[in-house]
Structure formats: C-alpha cells, structure tokens
C-alpha cells in the first residue's frame, strides 16, 4: 500500500471510497461537510451526549462474567453491555447521532435499512423522539425471522416496507433504501446502520459508535487496573466492532472480529467475507465481498440476520489486511450454543449476532492463561431471537 493510497479521502488503505451514482455525489459531499461541522460543534455534542445519557441510558455497564469465564476454563471474560442500551442494541448510538444531524441539516424525513431489525427499531425510536417521519426497508426473509422488531418499528410510528427482491435480506434492503434516497435526496437523510456504504458513512458510523470503546476502555481499567489482553466483537457490516476497536487500535490489545460461519463453507452457506471474499464494490464502497467469478454478489446464510450480509465495512477490510485485527468465524450451531450458555451462566439472553462474539470469546479464553482478560462487546439483546432459538432447540 502506498502512502498516496493511505491519504486518499474516504479510503482505508485500498478500501472504501465513494462509488455512488452521480445523483448522490453532491448530497454525500454535503453530508460529509455537515458531519465535519456538527461533530465539532459544542452544542451539537452536548445535545447528543444528553440524548445518549437521558434517553439512551448511557453509559452502559461493563461487568465481569465469572460463571461464563469459569465454563470457558481460562482467561476471565468481561462484557460491555450494549444490550442494555435503549431499544436493545448498540445501534441507537449511531441513530441518535445521524437523526440529530439530519434535523440540523434541515431534512424532513429519514429512511433506513434493517437486517435483524435492531437498526430499524433504533432509527424509528430516534425519529419518534426527534419528531421526524421514518421509513424502514426490510427484506421479507428478515421480517419473518425477526417479526417482534417489525411490530416494534410500527408501534414507534415507522413505516416498514417489505423488500421482496434478490435474497430478501439486508443486502436487498440496502438496495431499496439507496433507491429511495436517490429519489428523495433533497428532503431525506439515509440513516445507514453499519460502517459501510460510500464515504462519509463508514467514518461517520465509526465516530458515532466510538462511544462504546471510549466507555469500555475507561470502565475496564477501573475493573482490572489495565487494558484487556483481547477484545472481541461480531462483524456484520461491523459497526459495533469498529466502535469498540477504535479505542484500542493504537494499543497492544489483540482484536478479534467474528463473522458468521453459517452452516458450512460452501458459497451461499455463510457470510465469512475474510475467509471467502475478494475485493469488490458493493453499496458504494470497495471492500471484501462474497462474489462469483463474474463479479455478481453471491447469496449468504446466517442464523443471525444482522450478520447475513455479503460485504464487510471497508475499515475492517483494511484492518484485516494490516493484520491489526484477526477475523474468525463461528457457525450457526456454535452461536446457538453460546446463546444458551450465556443465558444459563450469566442470566443474559444475547442477540444471536452477539452470541457469535460470545462463542468466539469462550473459545479464545479457553486457550489463554487464567490471569488474562478477554473483553466482549455484547452488542444486543436476544428477545428478538427467542423463536429461532426455541425452534432450533426443538430440532436438536
């Protein structure tokens, strides 16, 4: 990688950029300028901090997990409890930031895509709180498997649009949200939910999620008197992971991102971009992508709707290529097992997305000495997944 490549705007090494239709280019520039301006504005920051605290419930706790650690049989595990954030996942950090930004920009409407429904619920809540109409696009496969979140979004006043094209999951919901944005860009802000998409989204989403890492680092130091030896987070697009990792990139803490290993290694059976992907452009960014020999995006599978996406955020692709973050995968069945394990040992039902991180952390901790610490971002809670977990139990 050349120094020039590193310094290109909106790029992370050779990944990132702004591969968008012309109609979106000036609006993306406008969004970048607005974000640069408001993120430095003391009043905007105070307002966002106040919302995160009084509405979102920040700071979220960080705690040890003694019984989970004991069952791992090695290092101690600590949990950053983003599942306790209002609406049940880390997504609200980014939604409050972006919806507040949208109101400052004079936008009259927000739209969002959602996979597991957590980003949709968080956008709907933020839009309700800040008084702006909201529409959420969701694949019909995801609407069926995350139906409690569909009800939540509707009760929060959002209009949920079923997307029945392509693989009917997160990827296709993003396609439809982008088309809506192209059509209505003058009046509408697109609240992209993960650290992907055209510049400035990957940077903006990271900055709004960086609160996870800032809090976690300080809290962990109070718990253990030092930084952890390793930090683990699940990676769909990668927003909760980049939020946590951002606090540790300049340290020696080993960082692990966990992808969906799904039900096997064959194309279409997983969403492990680092294992099976190659460089390509999807949804406005150049990144690691699961694609076929003709450059067509291939279907993915994961028991977890939030990880079921064929591309990864460009900063993760870069951090992987540098070797700064190691990316591993966890299968559907390992994630389901970790769900049950955390429930029984710590009394916490994790989102199936976060259960991937738990499964990986348990595996990792088991190979580490007792005095070591592994910090896991518990990015969301599992109420939305009860039906999936129960039906999987019925099968086994």
């Amino acid at each position: 990688m050349s120094a020039r490549a590193r310094s290109r705007k909106g790029y992370f090494g050779e990944y990132g950029g702004r591969f968008a239709p012309e109609t979106l280019m000036a609006p993306l520039e406008e969004l970048e300028k607005a974000f640069d301006r408001w993120r430095r504005d003391p009043r905007f920051r105070r307002e966002l901090d106040r919302l995160l605290r009084t509405y979102g419930g920040r700071p979220t706790p960080l705690s040890d997990a003694p019984r989970l650690s004991k069952s791992a049989g090695g290092a101690s595990i600590a949990l950053k409890r983003e599942d306790l954030l209002h609406t049940g996942a880390h997504k609200l950090n980014n939604c409050l930031g972006q919806v507040l930004l949208a109101t400052r920009m004079g936008k009259r409407r927000v739209i969002a895509e959602t996979g597991a429904g957590q980003h949709g619920v968080a956008t709907a809540a933020a839009a309700a709180r800040l008084g702006i109409p909201c529409r959420v696009y969701m694949g019909t496969v995801d609407m069926a498997r995350q139906s409690p979140n569909v009800s939540r979004m509707r009760l929060l006043g959002a209009e949920v649009i079923a997307v029945d094209s392509g693989s009917r999951t997160l990827k296709d919901a993003i396609n439809e949200a982008m088309r809506d944005w192209i059509e209505n860009v003058a009046t509408t802000h697109y609240v992209l939910g993960s650290a992907l998409g055209p510049h400035p989204y990957p940077t903006m989403v990271r900055e709004f999620q960086a609160v996870i890492g800032r809090e976690a680092r300080a809290q962990f130091r109070r718990l253990a008197g030092r930084d952890p030896d390793a930090a683990v987070a699940c990676v769909g697009g990668g927003s909760n992971a980049i939020g946590l990792f951002s606090a540790y990139l300049a340290t020696r803490v080993r960082l692990y991102g966990v992808e969906a290993g799904g039900r096997g290694n064959a194309p279409g059976d997983h969403a492990a971009r680092f294992a099976g992907g190659s460089a390509g452009v999807l949804h406005g960014t150049r990144t690691l992508l699961l694609q076929d020999a003709s450059g067509q995006v291939v279907p993915t599978h994961s028991v977890s709707a939030g990880l079921d996406y064929p591309a990864v955020g460009p900063e993760h692709a870069h951090l992987g290529s540098l070797g700064r973050v190691a990316y591993g995968k966890v299968s559907d069945s390992e994630a389901l097992e970790a769900f049950r394990l955390l429930a029984r040992t710590e009394g916490i039902l994790p989102a199936l997305e976060s259960a991937h991180a738990i499964a990986f952390a348990v595996r990792l901790a088991g190979r580490m000495p007792k005095r070591a610490w592994v910090l896991v971002n518990l990015s969301g809670r599992g109420d939305k997944d009860l039906e999936i977990v129960e039906s999987a139990s019925g099968r086994s």
Binding site: L24, M25, A26, G166, D172, I182, E183, V281, A293
Partner: protein, 247 residues
Amino acid sequence: MAGDPSSDATVALARALEGAGAEILELGVPFSDPIADGAVLQRSAARALAAGTTLADVWRMAERIRRATSLSLVLFSYVNPLLRRGLERSAREAKAAGFDAVLVTDLPPEEAGAVQPLFRNADLETVFLVSPTSPPGRMSRAARLSSGFLYVVSRPGTTGARDSLPSDLSRTVARARRAARENLPVAVGFGIATPAAARLAARLADGVVVGSALVAKTEENPDPNDAVVAVGRLARRLVGACRRGKP
C-alpha cells in the same frame, strides 16, 4: 439488457432498434445489485443473470450486433463486474468485441482517476453522467472526463418510465451544455418513456436515451418474436418524435 431473455433475443432486438432508426445502443451488463435502477431494469438484470449471462457472453453479443448492424455500441455497466474481470482486460475485450464507448453507473469522476485512462488507452470513448443535483464544478469535471457524449440524468431518481419530464429539465440541460466543451454532445435519459417526452427532450438535447420503456416491452411479450415487434414499434414512434422535436 444483454442476455434478457437470451443472447439471440438481444441481437434480434438490436436489429429491430436499428430498423426503427436508433443510432446508438446502450448494451447493459446485468448486475446482481443495481442500486441506480428501478424495478423494470432490476427484473431485466435478474432474468439475464438467471439465464447465466456473463461478461464474456456480453462480448459475444456485442460482436454479433456489430456484424449485424451499424449501431454505435455503448457498454453500460456497474463497476464490479468490470473490476472482477480486471479493468484493463475488460477495456481491451470490450473494444475487441466492437464497443465504441463505456458508461459505468457507479463510477463517479472521483473514483475514475485511474480507470478512465485505461478505457481511453483501449480506444474507447468514456461517458460520464451529470444530474440535476450536480453543482457546476461536478458537471465540468464529468464533461472533462467525457468523450462521445455527456449523459444528463433528467431527474434525481432511479431508471424507469415516468409520465412526464421534470419541469427543470431545460435548466439542467442548459447547465450541462455550459459545462460540456463545444464539440461534446449532450444526451438526456432517465424516465423518458413516451413519444411526447422524447420530442420535448430532443428539443433540448442532442440525444435521447430510452431504456426501461423498451425493456418493459420485452417483459410484456414473453415470445421473443412478439417482443421484437413491440420494441421496434415503440422505438419507431420514439425516433419519429425525436426527429419532429429537432429544430
């Protein structure tokens, strides 16, 4: 769309379009995630992909169209299928297949710095898009990178037939003309579906692009022979309207 519903049908449709008086053919490369396209072109791409269409098939169709017609051929693609094959190789193969120009929907001037010279070195014209949302600086940049023609997107939106033209179209085209060099023609597309709209657009621009409205005819006519007749009939009316629109 190349390969919708088959290679043979694509070649037959190209001949029908030439017969109707069309001069330039935009041959679309099907892509799995066409974010700039409305429902008609999405379904068309899905049909072409379901039929197994690859970039190599697009080259073969272009060769056949080149032999069968004297249409100018514009390769119309999203960037990923070209990236996957290699940009330099794609450019070389496109030229060899008979393409005259290339237009990449999701490759704005910012990202085209290294790419545009590859196409030009392969002796392909490069077409960039400008939109009503493009400020003058962006329009100038797109025009500088363009040869062949400058493509004016008529309205903020995805591709697809609309009932009418946007009220600010003449202003958008005038802005594009100011940005374009004297010898760079300006074509307008997106949403133009009817002879009335084509006639108005032809008054403003040097070229009029119709996509979805023609593709919809192939969708409405599952029998390729019927589709060729229907597409030819609509194209003839559109071409006639454009000629009447010319001052």
